[in-house]
């Protein structure tokens, strides 16, 4: 007997699979951490209101004032904040 796989679960699975590298990070602790690290670099931001995870220790943060920054740890172990 042929078993038919429903379309919706497949789409959900695929979406999850491909969306994994860029998960929205709404964890307040992550947003607070990103806010602090951007401020430590002396960059304009206010508060980080949203972030998208690009990879391990790699985020694109959206600030309250509209600025966007990529925050990541480079190969030398330094935190880098790049304006996007």
């Amino acid at each position: 007997m042929k078993q038919r796989v429903g379309g919706v679960p497949v789409i959900v699975a695929l979406t999850t699979l491909f969306a994994a590298p860029s998960l929205a990070a709404e964890d307040p602790a992550v947003l607070k951490d990103l806010t602090a690290v951007i401020a430590l670099q002396g960059l304009a931001c206010g508060q980080v209101v949203g972030a998208v995870r690009q990879g391990e220790q790699d985020y694109v943060a959206t600030c309250q004032d509209g600025n966007r920054y990529r925050v990541f740890v480079n190969a030398q172990g330094r935190v880098v904040v790049e304006k996007r």
Binding site: V30, A36, L40, V71, V73, G77, R78, V79
Partner: protein, 135 residues
């Protein structure tokens, strides 16, 4: 010249004998500030690593900035023309950053680091102590 005024006569009902020594209140002693606590840099570093008040990016960023400042002191101790006032400015700024990120989430650690400000500065400025803690 006027003669000295006579000593006041005690009232008849006064219980205190006239010859009893008068209790003098202790002279005011200048309040001495409490001695600064002994610096335990290793313990402070351990607490800074362990605190949940700041996230991993913040910790790493602070570590980067501490490393940069230590490198500046290293060149200073090697004889590079670096003004102490400039180093102090950078040190104060960095300490301010540390305190500002800690003050809400871990006020006790912020207080202890703040209290160690001069001791840490002294350690950085002294070439012997500096070499000892950075080797």
């Amino acid at each position: 010249m006027r003669p000295p005024a006579p000593a006041p006569v005690p009232a008849p009902g006064d219980a205190a004998p006239p010859t009893a020594p008068r209790k003098e209140s202790a002279p005011p002693v200048a309040a001495t500030p409490p001695a600064p606590p002994a610096l335990d840099l290793a313990a402070l570093e351990k607490r800074l690593r362990a605190t949940n008040a700041i996230g991993i990016f913040t910790k790493l960023s602070l570590k980067n900035q501490v490393d940069d400042l230590v490198a500046r002191f290293r060149t200073f101790h090697q004889g590079a023309p670096v003004a102490v006032a400039k180093l102090r400015e950078e040190y104060d700024l960095l300490l301010l950053k540390v305190l500002s990120v800690l003050q809400d989430g871990d006020p006790e650690l912020a207080r202890d680091i703040g209290a160690s400000r001069e001791a840490i500065w002294g350690l950085l400025l002294d070439p012997v102590k500096f070499k000892k803690v950075t080797s």
